[in-house]
Symmetry: C2
Subunit: 141 residues, 2 copies
């Protein structure tokens, strides 16, 4: 697989003004974290149909990326499909799989070192081997 | 509070081509869900410091929005700050609070009826009463 180019991308968050009409931008506070949002396409359904196959992949990626796992939860949909969420000291990782579409909706949201989110994303691509994917990065905060 | 205008917004997901050089766009498959990503600013720290205060708000919003809760998890950071994640049959809701900044990072990701996500978002704005906020909506899938 070609090396992943994970470059910062600014996404035009829409600023909306409620009640008091005040916009808070431009802000002085730096972002609190990096959120990588990705869709993986053309993933082998055998990799993403069951919790028994998805859970060890996710857990090992969290560990290899150096993230701090607080709690994980996996749900088995029937006849297939998985939701997995890992609550991290640095925020969270979530994925929703659609084996019938070969699709994974992936979110990696980390506060702290952005390199950890990028590392985790690279590992997901290695393990799920999508035929293609799209992703964006948001600076959260 | 002024009525919330939740309008669909296309966000330019960056399409990245891995290994095989194939892009999957334009796609024929419709989106699987709506993901509302929001930052709430100027939230009263008393509302978002402790799990005991955040949990009932989140749980009631999930119920009022008609979402199907599978499992919830809340983590108390010290001296303050909360991570809450609700795993839904329709995907997930997550929030990370930063009382010291009056900040909430909120994600509402639902498959199925987009109006449920929008309803949940409106309810979060009502309960947390941010001085301002920004948000975007992604069509996931």
């Amino acid at each position: 697989m070609k090396a992943l180019q994970v470059m910062p991308q600014m996404v035009p968050f829409r600023t909306t003004s409620p009640a008091n009409g005040k916009h808070r931008f431009p802000r002085e506070m730096p972002p609190v974290g990096l959120h990588i949002i990705a869709e993986l396409y053309g993933v082998d359904p055998a990799l993403i149909s069951y919790v028994k196959d998805v859970e060890p992949v996710v857990e090992s990626i969290v560990e290899e990326a150096g993230l701090t796992r607080l709690q994980s939860y996996y749900h088995q949909f029937h006849p297939h499909g998985v939701t997995g969420i890992v609550l991290l000291a640095e925020s969270h990782v979530s994925l929703h799989t659609w084996p019938e579409h070969g699709l994974v909706n992936l979110d990696i949201f980390t506060c702290g070192d952005p390199a950890q989110a990028q590392k985790a994303f690279e590992l997901f691509l290695e393990r799920f081997r999508p035929a293609s994917y799209r992703h964006l990065q948001l600076e959260r905060g």
